[in-house]
Symmetry: C2
Subunit: 504 residues, 2 copies
């Protein structure tokens, strides 16, 4: 069928084509089915979205990527030929996984390639995700998927001396990368730390760093920063690495599904693409984290190690204490402030932040062979206390276009604050990570960079009735109100005294 092409822009995972319901019926095309579009001598594949009134009969509106692929400019009305296509090769492979069979290297490559090129519909991607969730992925499948995700996107080449640190997440206030990167970057290795912006958490590393410098780097900008300073803290957004993974995450995220096999492939595909050769993996363990128990954590560490070996990355994992936030601050600006303060004056840094950062940096030093086993922690601490880490962070901030001389107090935090106080005397016996995350998001983070919370009191701290426990920050007064309402329903912390009850 010949249709006049239009260009349209709706954000989604997929290359799609809106055509009139009458035309769709004539072609026997249903919502979500794939269509082949031919313009001049170019072919592209899109997903059908029939509409009764949005486009007239005889017209087809193409998503901008499809239009670009076919050389169609908005309003031009170029004629395209469209036809319903039978299922693609990769759909057959997705069905194979769906039924519980193992996929070969070639089959996974085809699936990942089709996903990266937008040839699959959201529903097909989700089918793949569920199939890997329920049927699992073996080590070979994870290796194949990791490689395929890396190969179908941009690659960064910084030579052989490239390391990275990664956390599987789940814990609030985990600003350790802002200490680890500048500490490690004092070596002759490169540590090009990239991370996604937070979506479900209140502040990702990229959100926190964005308070101090520009994190939206193009590949060439990243290369130049890293070559100059040996480190960077950037957002993956403009790098174009592992595009299939981005699309998989986009359908997983709203549903809060994260199959282990794809999670490992997701992490490692980005490391492969960045040319990472050594890595330390942070596995936070405790209430609200992704690790059930120590055994579970060790098994995951083993899988990462096995896949890492196959793709040329030497991985050391660390199960870390994750039952409560790291440090006292949660939220982009508050975390950046706490990190900066800790590097400027490590003697006053929160113990949890300092110890975790130095431990992970130390493991990296040992992993690459710069220091002997057991000596990494002290080597890292020494760099922090000597001010080398702060000096290096300033260099990195400058290289990423920020002000290296920024003072912690210059960082703008929420203009509205509220102190939540203890309702009785006692001890803080529990801080709920999930509630802290939700609360910080309710206050406006990560979009509102100044939104967040400061925990005056952490677990085992003694409190007296009326003493402040948490300070809330937001740039919206109504969000402070909403958060207080939330706190009254769901306690993010527990206070217990020694006396539980008295009678009469």
């Amino acid at each position: 069928m010949l249709l006049k092409a239009l260009k349209i822009d709706i954000k989604g995972n997929e290359s799609f084509i809106i055509l009139n319901s009458v035309d769709a019926e004539k072609l026997g095309i249903n919502v979500g089915e794939k269509i082949q579009i031919k313009a001049d001598k170019k072919y592209a594949i899109g997903v059908a979205r029939p509409s009764r009134s949005m486009v007239k009969e005889g017209y087809a509106a193409l998503s901008s990527d499809l239009a670009t692929e076919l050389g169609i400019i908005d309003g031009e009305g170029k004629t395209v030929e469209i036809k319903r296509i039978e299922y693609s090769l990769s759909f057959e492979y997705i069905r194979k996984k769906f039924k519980g069979y193992k996929l070969s290297d070639k089959e996974l490559y085809q699936i990942i390639k089709d996903i990266s090129e937008g040839k699959t519909s959201d529903l097909e991607v989700l089918m793949f995700v569920f199939s890997t969730y329920y049927n699992g992925m073996d080590i070979n499948e994870i290796i194949s998927a990791s490689k395929a995700m890396a190969e179908t996107g941009n690659r960064i080449n910084l030579g052989e001396k490239v390391v990275d640190k990664h956390s599987i997440g789940g814990i609030p206030g985990n600003k350790v990368s802002l200490l680890i990167v500048p500490t490690f970057a004092n070596s002759d290795f490169y540590i090009p730390k990239t991370s996604s912006k937070a979506i479900t958490s209140p502040s990702g590393t990229a959100d926190t760093m964005s308070v101090l410098a520009n994190v939206d780097l193009e590949p060439s900008e990243l290369m130049s920063v890293v070559k100059k300073t040996h480190g960077c803290i950037a957002w993956t957004g403009k790098l174009g690495i592992s595009p299939a993974d981005d699309k998989i995450i986009q359908v997983e995220r709203p549903l809060r599904i994260d199959p282990e096999g794809l999670m490992i492939a997701s992490v490692l595909s980005k490391k492969i693409a960045m040319g990472v050769k050594y890595m330390v993996l942070d596995l936070p363990y405790g209430n609200g984290t992704k690790i059930k128990d120590e055994k579970d954590g060790m098994q995951l560490a083993q899988k990462f190690k096995d896949v890492g070996e196959a793709v040329g990355i030497k991985i050391t994992s660390a199960l870390t204490y994750g039952s409560q936030p790291v440090g006292h601050a949660v939220g982009p600006a508050l975390e950046a402030k706490e990190a900066l303060e800790s590097l400027i004056n490590p003697y006053r840094a929160p113990n949890s932040l300092l110890m975790k950062s130095a431990s992970l940096t130390g493991l990296l030093f040992e992993n690459v062979g710069l220091v002997e086993k057991g000596l990494g922690y002290n080597a890292a601490l020494s760099l922090i206390f000597k001010g080398k880490s702060y000096q290096k962070l300033k260099e990195i901030i400058a290289a990423q276009g920020g002000n290296p001389d920024v003072k912690p107090d210059d960082l703008p935090v929420g203009s509205y604050t509220y102190d939540v106080t203890a309702e009785k005397d006692g001890y803080i016996t529990f801080i709920d990570n999930n509630e802290i995350n939700t609360l910080t998001r309710l206050l406006g983070a990560p979009y509102d960079k100044g939104a967040g919370i400061y925990l005056y009191k952490k677990e085992n701290y003694k409190v007296a009735k009326g003493e402040p426990i948490i300070r809330l920050y937001s740039n919206s007064e109504s969000k402070i109100d909403q958060s207080l309402q939330y706190i009254s329903q769901k306690k993010p912390y527990e206070i217990s005294g020694m006396l539980i009850e008295s009678y009469p």
Copy 2:
């Protein structure tokens, strides 16, 4: 956030809202997340689809159902308040099923209600489908889902004497409803047969009947036809029964997934909504059908019986021979023609069509207690041979606005035909149902009502080299060519001689 509302119409499963990417980012909203929209004092929920250029900052385009719900007319620019909402109750229940727990009556009702009201995204519906596929549904869950699907849509009330016939499908040429309905409608019971239009098969019952009469009936029209003639053959499209099921099928279909529990609930919800009290269920069994073996078929029959009892429908199941097409004709007009011919002159009707129709009608007669066990088949045959069934079909056609005196040869079949001939002497040893279905679709069915195939020869027929085996019909010459190409690659039938090989 306050935005100006616009109305838009893109067909999809879900109530959605397109907003500018900048506004979406401000609200922390991602693709596929749910948004609460408030207009005056009305609230509605839609799924977010951020766009960079389709709507300007400050505007929100609502899908037409949402706009209607909120009383928004296109172009009006009414102000609406939108905010990101935390996950709904039903999403938590979907997650519960996803993790393998059983759902209660109340939980399933909430999920089905949210699906029927478009409050769930396609991705959430699909998550529910996959969860039931991998974790199964027990009898209680199937009962709850069937009831909920029926209760959240329109209901038809024709009293207590209502029967139906249903086939789980998969077999080409299965036009038996066109014989069963008019045969059974000679009784004092009602048989309001409704069916969906074919999507993956080349002709559904509604497609075939549409050649003879109007099948797009509103509830009141259907009631009037059935009260007058005791039967009807209609499309479910305009009846508004089991809307949740329609939405579930829309996401299942492109992926070719059909979890057993939801399939049973889908069938029975529509029967409950139609007020059916007795039912015969056709379970075609053979190559390319949905039934693996006899045991599998009997287990499925048992499940249908158990759920039927709980919802007040007495179900008799029949495992039927399904290794090759029923009769000789496949495709809407060709099937309607064969059915009409068979009722006009049963002595020349294909044996498979006559026997299957009479057997199933007979089981229905026995099920409702009109005839004794074992006598149903002959009672049905007798009505067909006495011309009572043909007379009744004419009444039904007339009541549905068709021409009751239409002759089989009046029905327009494809203007292009081609006879595929035997390449050697021998016997037809195999006809592939799936290939016959694909072939008929390639010829243009079901959209092209005249497209289809006529099988001169079925299994065990003797053929001589050069004798015609299949006649192809289409209204498009190029589709005939495409089909011939397809046949040359994938044989829809096999011819074997007695001599397999010779040497030397």
